[in-house]
């Protein structure tokens, strides 16, 4: 009933391929955007900002970057955490070398560095495929984290070996560092995430996305119909690492406030990969759904038993959380290999047909 499509006629191919073929989709997105831009900031507490809103957005962006590579171009990567690290360290260097640089510019520039590193480690994908490639990306993961630790120039040779986010001002408001308010940081993250999501949606709808999908579905066939595999794969690696790098810069500057090399270790790579899998490979929406689930799960596990007066040690909660995520992954793969995004698709189809089953 809510999703009735009657009366929405498409008279041209263009209209059929539009971003929102259904009016209801556009309205729904409008509601979500209004929630994110107006309602949440008015109502959210400090706790909600720091444990839910900001991390969900950042993880969703990182997963989006990975999803372009793995879900759209079919190249499995296990090095996401390290590429986030490249973005974070690049942003840190930019901000400390050029303190007057606008932070938005710095964050968007730092993605370029991780895109460059991503292309470099993407080169083997031209010769190596499938699992071999996945392990090859582990080389990036371990080498880069080692580099973050050993290359003193990256963290300005400070004694702790960690990077500390300085106070950064933008248009008279503190947006990063200890002085920044959560609201300012939330808007900063939201702005960049919204922008990059729009870019990603249009990329995947356009020629680039179709090329990637052709490579994913069968690369030899794609080559035979005239797709330049090298260009397509490296392009995917570059775009994906760019977005992942920006997510990494936001991760440290807008959320963690400080970072040491092992923050970017393989656990982070896997966390982002799980978000992409549970959310749904080859979907944009899925990254958000997956991020909400993965970020909210430990929060729920921490708070819900308390409401019922059951006290669980926080270490146990963490381990139960790990087990549940593991079970969820297997369950999703068995029941719905296309993830949460596919579930939403099914619900939407049901809503369109409702109340008639056929």
């Amino acid at each position: 009933m809510l999703y009735r499509t009657a009366g929405q006629f498409k008279t041209s191919y263009r209209a059929d391929q539009a971003l929102f073929p259904l009016r209801q989709d556009a309205i729904l997105l409008g509601v979500i955007l209004a929630l994110a831009w107006v309602v949440f900031p008015l109502t959210a507490s400090e706790f909600a900002y720091q444990t839910l809103l900001i991390p969900v957005l950042i993880y969703a962006l990182a997963a989006l970057g990975l999803n372009l590579l793995t879900g759209y171009a079919g190249q499995l990567s296990l090095g996401t955490g390290a590429f986030m690290g490249v973005g974070a360290y690049a942003c840190y260097k930019l901000i400390t070398l050029f303190p007057e640089l606008n932070l938005v510019v710095a964050v968007l520039l730092s993605g370029l560095f991780s895109a460059g590193v991503g292309v470099l480690f993407g080169l083997p994908s031209l010769r190596i495929k499938g699992f071999y490639l996945a392990i090859a990306t582990l080389a990036a993961q371990f080498f880069l984290v080692w580099l973050f630790e050993k290359w003193g120039w990256l963290y300005n040779d400070n004694a702790s070996g960690a990077i500390q986010v300085p106070n950064v001002e933008m248009f008279g408001i503190w947006v990063a560092g200890p002085l920044a308010t959560s609201t300012a940081q939330y808007y900063f993250v939201l702005g960049i995430v919204t922008f990059l999501t729009v870019v990603a949606i249009n990329l995947t709808r356009g020629a680039a996305g179709r090329t990637w999908k052709a490579v994913r579905d069968m690369d030899i066939a794609a080559e035979l119909i005239g797709i330049n595999l090298m260009k397509a794969k490296l392009h995917a690696f570059a775009v994906s690492s760019y977005i992942v790098g920006v997510a990494g810069a936001l991760f440290v500057f807008m959320w963690r406030g400080a970072a040491e090399p092992n923050l970017f270790d393989i656990d982070l790579s896997f966390r982002v990969l799980f978000i992409a899998i549970i959310g749904g490979l080859g979907s944009i929406l899925g990254n958000y759904l997956g991020a909400i689930l993965i970020v909210a799960l430990p929060v729920l596990l921490n708070t819900v038993p308390d409401l019922f007066g059951i006290a669980i040690k926080s270490a146990t909660v963490e381990h139960v959380n790990v087990i549940i995520v593991g079970c969820l992954i297997i369950l999703f793969l068995i029941l719905e290999p296309h993830g949460l995004a596919r579930l939403w698709q099914l619900v939407r189809e049901k809503l369109i047909l409702w109340p008639f089953p056929h």
């Binding site: 499995l76 083997p124 010769r127 190596i128 495929k129 499938g130 699992f131 071999y132 996945a134 392990i135 090859a136 582990l138 080389a139 993961q141 371990f142 080498f143 984290v145 080692w146 630790e149 050993k150 069968m218 030899i220 066939a221 035979l224 393989i266 896997f270 990969l273 799980f274 899998i277 270490a315 146990t316 381990h319 139960v320 959380n321 790990v322 087990i323 549940i324 995520v325 593991g326 079970c327 969820l328 992954i329 297997i330 793969l333 068995i334 290999p337």
Partner: protein
């Protein structure tokens, strides 16, 4: 010039200047290489029989070692604990086959790979809850692994071999020979190889897919237990082992995913080379702990020239 001399000349001068130390380094590399090879063997076995890239092999090593130590801590004698651990690993194999693999038959490889990541998480979480995350001591003495060391004097120098390392090497060799005999001469072993060669043909001549899958996962579990004992007696039992176990992945890349020979040769090669690189190049020139990435980068470079690994099957692609 100075730098080139430090990279190309000095390390070799050091090697020939102190051959006894070089031999010690190679021995250390061989021992850890054998352990990498053992973990890689578990991967290869499962990959050949089911085309599943089993990411959980590393955590199975940790889990087996934890179970063994945990059962012994409950007061069971060492050999009973050993048998109990084998029973647990068998139960695990059955559970994995029944609950995870069977519903996923016929899915793309990548889905099965991700399912094994899920298994990894479940094992990590439950291992931490049941046994606790702190470092434990492997019950090496109770299992009859000797301690102490043997001194050798090659080239008039001095070399120290730990008795437990010698035991580990001997045990690993025995196990590999046993495994090869099992795969080549026993009925079940041949069934495993048949499945690896051609799934459908194997099923059509009456080989039971699920029984063989349980079997390979159980054998991989036994290998995991052995690896856990060997490694645990060197470095203690903790979840840090899981990261070390990931080293088996570049070993696999180097050796090729299907090849048992490849796993062994790759393991030894990586074990020795990463030790040599760390001692002669990594520590003086790069600030150390290059062992974290050397294996991966080496495998990556080899793969650029041989995409199927040193011993892998040639990849032939058709549209």
């Amino acid at each position: 010039m100075e730098l080139l001399q430090r990279i190309l000349v000095r390390p070799f001068a050091e090697m020939f200047g102190a051959p006894d130390f070089l031999m010690q380094v190679i021995w250390e590399g061989l021992v850890s290489g054998i352990l990498y090879a053992l973990i890689a063997l578990g991967f290869v076995l499962i990959f050949r029989a089911s085309r599943i890239f089993n990411f959980a092999q590393g955590i199975m090593v940790v889990f087996a070692a934890l179970t063994l130590v945990g059962l012994h801590a409950m007061g069971l004698p060492a050999w009973v604990a050993f048998a109990g651990t084998l029973a647990v690993m068998f139960g695990l194999a059955v559970a994995i086959e029944r609950l995870v693999l069977r519903p996923l038959i016929g899915q793309p490889d990548i889905v099965l790979f991700m399912a094994t990541i899920g298994i990894t998480l479940i094992l990590v979480g439950s291992g931490e809850i049941i046994f606790g995350g702190e470092n434990k001591v492997m019950i090496a003495r109770e299992l009859g692994i000797p301690s102490g060391s043997v001194e050798l004097n090659p080239f008039g120098g001095f070399m120290l071999l730990e008795a437990r390392d010698i035991t580990v090497v001997a045990g690993a060799v025995a196990m590999v020979l046993g495994l090869l005999a099992f795969l080549n001469y026993s009925r079940m072993g041949r069934a495993i190889r048949a499945l690896g060669d051609d799934h459908q043909a194997a099923v059509s001549v009456g080989i039971s897919l699920s029984a063989i899958w349980v079997l390979v996962w159980f054998v991989a579990g036994i290998i995991a237990l052995m690896t856990g004992i060997a490694w645990g007696s060197r470095a203690g039992v903790s979840f840090a082992l899981e990261i070390i176990a990931l080293k088996a992945l570049p070993v696999l890349m180097l050796g090729g995913l299907e090849s048992i020979t490849g796993a062994i040769v790759g393991g030894l090669l990586i074990g020795v080379l990463e030790k040599l690189f760390e001692i002669y190049w990594g520590q003086p020139l790069l600030g150390g702990s290059t062992e974290a990435w050397f294996a991966y980068v080496l495998a990556l470079i080899v793969l650029l020239f041989r995409p199927q690994g040193l011993f892998g099957e040639r990849i032939i692609e058709r549209v």
